[in-house]
């Protein structure tokens, strides 16, 4: 017996999965560059969110057309992967359609039949997706931040899916043995006829070629994910789990600030007394965020999960009215900078070497940050529970608390709050005057 195909297959499989594993490790390392954050609350709510939003696609269908098509591609993708299991076993053991020998013909036929229907539906959906992007040119796919790479990335994936689905159907269509079974070949039987009077020898060659290209394609796809917005097909699950569970309007209270404020307000504490040892480490080195390391790991996970769909930006009041702010860009910038920091660490033997750059200014400008109304429209719109607003807020905190760099009018407002207890220059003692006016 000839073992060469089996060995080649095993090598392809191991290197494909191996390379993927190194990238997963890198991703986790990069996430850990972020600050720690407590996500132990609301466990049951978190599981529910993951089930509804990631598994159940509940947010996707808020936009019915895109949502419906996406559900087809998603279901197709997940279910057709059952077939990949058979392909892997066949490849390793040199069998042919292993499941057809263990499952009753009717069950096997039913399975492959549903895969074929799904493959055809996925194919059609992907074509519609492609047209929405490239022919209808839906606005949110053509904003400023959709530079060449994000645009190409989206199209590559669509081409990839078209090719994979075609290969799957061609593989079935040219499988003489499978066609002879005449069960489950709902779609592929029609494709067979396109080949006309091809000899069985040629059929075999085409079938083998399609089979190999299909599985190699899947391995390439798997490894493409790390570099693509398509990472969301994996990360949507943890991301919806770790997403915000409190009311959207509730922003975190910074604990270090709480300690300081309590100390200032407590008449029993002598502010000039020597600090007890260890207390210095309680205060973070810096308030807010000017670079990715200042964000927490959930915010970084958000960045890797972003699908670049632009639903957030298309709902953003600032963006709608021509301001520079785009919540999608906030997420893309965060990911790009995080990747840059990761590569820097790789290149410098595990240590980050200052590159004179940071997320603030080099990626996200102040003008963008100050345009936000904190309206939460982006958070509401995101189909995978990303919170661009939390990053905007952390960066504003850095600007105000570390740099005192708020716009002048806001500084005036804050001075008023501090002195008069109101954002306008009125006296607190006049607060009840309205009663007698």
């Amino acid at each position: 017996m000839n073992y060469i195909p089996n060995i080649l297959f095993a090598i392809a499989l191991i290197s494909g999965i191996g390379y993927f594993a190194t990238n997963v490790k890198k991703l986790i390392r990069n996430l850990k560059l972020g600050r720690d954050v407590d996500v132990s609350d609301n466990k049951s709510q978190r599981w529910r969110n993951m089930a509804m939003i990631a598994l159940g696609q509940s947010k996707m269908v808020k936009r019915p057309i895109a949502g419906f098509l996406h559900v087809i591609v998603y279901v197709g993708f997940v279910i057709i992967n059952i077939e990949v299991l058979e392909i892997i076993l066949d490849g390793l053991f040199g069998t042919h359609r292993l499941f057809s020998t263990v499952l009753p013909a009717s069950v096997y036929g039913f399975l492959i039949g549903s895969f074929e229907i799904l493959a055809a539906l996925v194919f059609v959906s992907v074509i519609i997706f492609w047209m929405r992007r490239n022919i209808i040119k839906i606005k949110r796919f053509w904003s400023k931040e959709m530079t060449s790479w994000p645009k190409n990335d989206a199209n590559f994936i669509l081409y990839f899916e078209m090719v994979l689905m075609t290969l799957f159907l061609v593989m079935n269509a040219t499988d003489v043995h499978f066609q002879a079974m005449d069960t489950g070949n709902i779609i592929s039987q029609h494709i067979t006829s396109w080949f006309g009077n091809t000899s069985s020898e040629t059929f075999h060659i085409i079938e083998r070629t399609a089979w190999w290209l299909h599985i190699l394609g899947i391995l390439v796809f798997l490894n493409y994910l790390y570099f693509s917005k398509h990472l969301h097909i994996l990360l949507a699950f943890p991301n919806t789990f770790y997403g915000k569970t409190r009311p959207k309007g509730q922003f975190d209270n910074n604990e270090a600030v709480t300690k300081e404020v309590k100390m200032m307000m407590d008449p029993n504490i002598d502010p000039f007394a020597a600090q007890p040892e260890g207390s210095v480490t309680d205060t973070p080195a810096k308030f807010g965020a000017s670079d990715v390391q200042d964000l927490n790991w959930v915010q970084l996970l958000n960045a890797y999960t972003c699908t670049e769909c632009g639903r957030c930006t298309s709902e953003c009041p600032a963006n709608k009215t021509g301001k520079k702010l785009s919540p999608r860009k906030i997420m893309m910038d965060t990911r790009d900078r995080l990747e840059e920091v990761g590569k820097n660490i790789d290149a410098n033997k595990g240590m980050f070497k200052d590159d004179g750059k940071q997320l603030l200014d080099d990626y996200i400008t102040r003008e963008e940050l100050w345009a936000c109304t904190t309206c939460n429209a982006c958070v509401e719109a995101c189909p995978v529970s990303i919170d661009p607003l939390s990053i905007i807020m952390d960066m504003r905190r850095y600007l105000v608390m570390e740099q005192s760099a708020a716009p002048m009018e806001l500084n005036n407002m804050m001075t008023n709050v501090e002195n008069n207890g109101a954002p306008w220059p009125y006296n607190q003692m006049d607060r009840l005057n309205w009663k007698n006016e």
Partner: protein
């Protein structure tokens, strides 16, 4: 001077009594000329329904919301802790406010700093009075009027309150019409996140104009609001569109009070 009763917490304390609810007036409600009218409308309704409420008066201070949303966590917490000290000293249990920003901040951000209260937006509170039979709502001059409700971000999306204001408007026998983007997809008026206090960043339109245009698409006679800042923004928008004579911007509390000539 009109005949309204506005007791303070200090007065209640002096009599050794506790009010049913604290009315948190807020900075806009205390100082802004337009918002003061909303404050008084609410007071008249509360008086009419015999609600024993009190205000903090000169002991009230900004919740710190605009400072927090500007990024000044320190100033926010100073404000919060000061207010919490005052309210805890008075043993406040329940708060009603006509400002969604105060509502959100006290409800969500004060508990972590030691201020735990039951907090209601005035539309929720009025709805509860209605349900308990303590308040009746008549249509009056608003019967059959076309009214569209603009969702305040900090009431709607931030805290998922969409129905209370709408139910009150329906009780006026008015025709409630929804804008294209409403409820969880409602467009911001442009004031949130401390934008109220600064010039907008460069763009090709002001947000309140965009929202006003959306509201005008429904051909309303009245744009109902539930936030003093939204009210200002929408009023400016209507002025910008020179529609003041056709479209009025009114708070839900004003609708209810005016319908009964309170």
């Amino acid at each position: 001077m009109e005949n309204i009763k506005v007791p303070t917490m200090a007065e209640f304390m002096a009599e050794g009594k506790q009010p049913e609810v604290l009315f948190w007036v807020g900075c806009a409600g205390s100082f802004d000329d337009r918002a003061k009218k909303i404050t008084k409308a609410l007071v008249r309704i509360l008086n009419k329904a015999n609600v024993e409420f009190a205000v903090l008066g000169t002991e009230e201070s900004c919740t710190g919301d605009p400072a927090k949303r500007s990024g000044n966590e320190f100033l926010f917490q100073m404000q919060a802790v000061t207010n919490i000290e005052v309210m805890n000293a008075y043993e406040i249990k329940k708060i009603v406010t006509a400002c969604p920003h105060c509502f959100n901040t006290i409800k969500n951000e004060y508990p972590g700093l030691g201020g735990k209260y039951e907090v209601m937006h005035h539309t929720q509170f009025l709805k509860s009075l209605l349900d308990e039979g303590r308040l009746s709502i008549e249509g009056g001059q608003f019967k059959g009027k076309r009214i569209t409700f603009h969702d305040p971000c900090y009431l709607g999306r931030a805290n998922n309150v969409y129905e209370a204001p709408r139910e009150l408007i329906r009780k006026l026998d008015a025709e409630l019409i929804e804008m294209k983007s409403c409820k969880s997809r409602g467009l911001c008026c442009g004031a949130g996140g401390a934008q109220m206090f600064k010039e907008p960043e460069k763009g090709d339109k002001d947000i309140n104009i965009e929202r006003t245009e959306q509201a005008l698409e429904t051909k309303p006679q009245i744009i109902a609001a539930g936030c003093p800042f939204c009210n200002t923004m929408m009023t400016d928008g209507i002025k910008g569109k020179e529609k003041e004579s056709e479209v009025a911007v009114m708070d839900v509390a004003e609708l209810i009070a005016n319908a009964q000539d309170l």
